[in-house]
């Protein structure tokens, strides 16, 4: 009874908050709206909200929720809208006025003045997830196209990263000449210790994941395109193994089984870390005024599971976690932090100089007002700085053989799901989407 009352109260509060903020769903609203009772409302609200339809992250968030709802065709369309935004960015004029404006804004005013075009891991994963859409529609050829795009997209990211490293070195030198040390991470920065984590150090790079390459190998094999494209399935598998040796545990064959079929189980679970901008404020000029260093940061992932177990009458296996979005996000941040730190010091210095001038002209109160104006202004800009918050945090793949018409059991933490295999097919691909413990969806396709 109390539980029911609590549920009703929670739903009233949730829907009221959606109505009050009918135009834009905040990160927190998206997170709380993934539970089964609220999911359809959240999806409908997000789909009807056009205020952010020029934003890369908006289409990615929508595409992910549409996929989690089994609406694969709409999800493909949303991913295509995200691609169009990124393509436009990647193909801009060599000297683009928009890029210059964004660069100046983020260099002098606030990190939030930048337009977010995703990090390397997001740009590759969007193609991987879209390949899953095509897979679930039985279109293996188009799924293979998406996997090729996944690899192609990495090239621009590498170029962009190289440019950023050069720019960071330039900024560091500028800051050094002005007497600022940008080599040390501020103590108050919440992710300071996490970025030194051993798992993050162990990642080969910040944009290639073994999940995408393993899936690519399976898709190219099933679509029959591997031989025609220079054994591309094998090449993908080698890349996956180089990124994570645990990929070898993905494939299980049982030679004596009959009548058997191939079963591929793909699990996408949890919600990736959401980006935020962290302000570290400190006083200047005897405490009368203040300035702040603003650095990109991440929240912790949500609703994720830590164990997937698959059992049939013949086998029991625990597929490895191959997609580790949180680690890739932190790795990207770790790689970019020196540049971000240099830029944030330049911004802090700009604001401090302006506050000093205000203080000189209008006294301490003038300086304080100037500090507050900068702070509020940048906080407003930072609030719209968002990433692909609905990206899955984990991905698991298992490909094994099983007897036709038998039952497969899958355990996701404490939740058990089962399905019966078909009796007349060569193979099946099962996609399990775990958004919350009560919002789990299972889709499949046969071939």
């Amino acid at each position: 009874m109390i539980n029911s009352l609590l549920k009703v109260t929670f739903r009233i509060i949730f829907f009221s908050s959606l109505l009050l903020n009918a135009s834009v769903l905040t990160t927190n609203q998206l997170h709380s709206g993934l539970w089964l009772n609220n999911f359809q409302t959240t999806l409908a609200t997000l789909a009807s909200d056009t205020s952010d339809d020029d934003k890369f992250w908006y289409w990615l968030n929508l595409a992910r929720l549409q996929q989690a709802n089994g609406d694969f065709t709409s999800s493909i369309q949303s991913f295509e809208r995200a691609y169009a935004i990124l393509d436009e960015y990647e193909n801009r004029a060599t000297i683009s006025l928009r890029n210059i404006g964004s660069f100046l804004g983020s260099s002098l005013m606030s990190k939030g003045s930048e337009t977010y075009y995703g990090k390397g891991y997001e740009r590759t994963s969007m193609h991987t997830l879209n390949a899953l859409n095509y897979l679930m529609l039985g279109n293996f050829e188009s799924a293979a196209v998406e996997m090729r795009r996944m690899e192609q997209r990495q090239k621009f990211w590498l170029q962009e990263s190289t440019d950023k490293i050069k720019e960071a070195a330039k900024k560091r030198e500028e800051a050094r000449q002005k007497g600022s040390d940008t080599s040390r991470i501020p103590q108050n920065y919440s992710l300071a210790s996490m970025l030194e984590d051993e798992d993050i150090r162990a990642l080969v790079n910040n944009y290639q994941d073994p999940f995408s390459y393993t899936l690519s190998s399976i898709i190219l094999d099933i679509s029959g395109q591997s031989a025609a494209s220079g054994n591309s399935a094998e090449i993908s598998l080698k890349r996956a193994l180089a990124l994570n040796p645990d990929v070898s545990k993905v494939f299980v064959t049982l030679p004596d089984l009959t009548p058997k079929m191939d079963v591929t189980v793909i699990v996408l679970s949890g919600i990736a870390p959401a980006m935020k901008i962290e302000k570290i404020r400190f006083p200047i000029f005897y405490g009368a005024n203040y300035t702040s260093i603003d650095l990109p940061s991440y929240t912790l992932p949500k609703n994720d599971i830590n164990m997937v177990a698959i059992t049939t009458d013949q086998l029991k296996l625990q597929p490895p976690r191959l997609l580790k979005t949180d680690l890739m996000a932190y790795k990207t941040l770790k790689d970019e932090l020196p540049g971000e730190l240099a830029k944030s010091v330049v911004r802090a210095t700009t604001k401090a100089i302006a506050a000093k001038q205000a203080s000189d002209h209008f006294g301490n109160l003038g300086g304080l007002v100037a500090s507050l104006v900068f702070d509020v202004g940048s906080s407003y800009a930072d609030s719209g700085f968002r990433n692909w918050e609905m990206m899955p945090n984990s991905g698991y793949i298992a490909k094994f053989e099983a007897i036709k018409n038998s039952t497969v059991n899958i355990k996701l933490n404490n939740t058990q799901e089962s399905f019966v295999l078909p009796s007349d097919k060569k193979g099946t691909i099962v996609l399990i989407t775990y958004l919350t413990p009560d919002n789990i969806r299972i889709d499949h396709v046969t071939y």
């Binding site: 193909n91 004029a93 000297i95 188009s142 196209v145 090729r148 192609q152 090239k155 029959g224």
Partner: protein, 204 residues
């Protein structure tokens, strides 16, 4: 003077208001002026560097002509029976390869030099063709439908390269004429397309 100005302003405002209420067209508005116009279906299309209508047309034209000139077709005592299999899309784009095979089929049929068997576009390997023929041979009615003299298969590939200023896309469309009995490739040809797009130096 002030009155004339007021009248002019009123007339301008009225024109703007009325033009705002004008119908925008719809069903049955035959001849209504709009942005829709017919274009030349054969005109060169360069909207983007993606595989487009011009590529489809030139590919089909060139490969069909080459195939018709091959001795297996040109010197055949009677038009051979051909089955057109799917052309694999191995590019970075969602190309409708059925559009390519359909266009080639139409051109070959119009030539009168080949006969086509109904195809199953989802089977794209010679092995499938042989299995199909073997299983159908047991049934005489099916045998005529399954027995093809040749099958045509193919691939579309692309290579993309880009630097800061230039994007280069290379397409290669290849077709093969294969004997389903022996698996021998009797004829093959390709059509190459290269598209280069340059970034503008300065822009929005």
């Amino acid at each position: 003077m002030k009155t004339i100005t007021n009248i002019s302003l009123s007339i301008t405002l009225a024109v703007i208001l009325f033009s705002g209420c004008a119908p925008k067209g719809g069903a049955g508005m035959v001849g209504y002026q709009s942005d829709v116009k017919y274009g030349d279906a054969k005109a060169v299309e360069t909207v983007t560097a993606d595989f487009g209508s011009t590529d489809l047309q030139t590919t089909a034209e060139s490969l069909t002509q080459s195939l018709l000139e091959s001795r297996y077709i040109a010197k055949a005592p009677q038009p051979p029976k051909v089955r057109l299999r799917a052309v694999n899309n191995l590019t970075y784009e969602h190309i409708d390869t059925k559009a390519i095979t359909d266009k080639i089929r139409i051109k070959l049929l119009k030539s009168g030099q080949v006969r086509f068997l109904a195809d199953n576009a989802n089977l794209n390997q010679v092995k499938d063709e042989r299995e199909f023929t073997e299983s159908a041979t047991a049934n005489k009615e099916n045998k005529a439908m399954a027995d093809s003299d040749y099958i045509i298969t193919g691939n579309v590939r692309s290579i993309k390269k880009a630097n800061d200023d230039v994007k280069d896309v290379y397409y290669n469309v290849s077709l093969e004429l294969v004997s389903p009995q022996s698996g021998e490739i009797l004829w093959a040809d390709e059509k190459e397309i290269r598209k280069v797009t340059s970034k503008s130096s300065v822009g929005w």
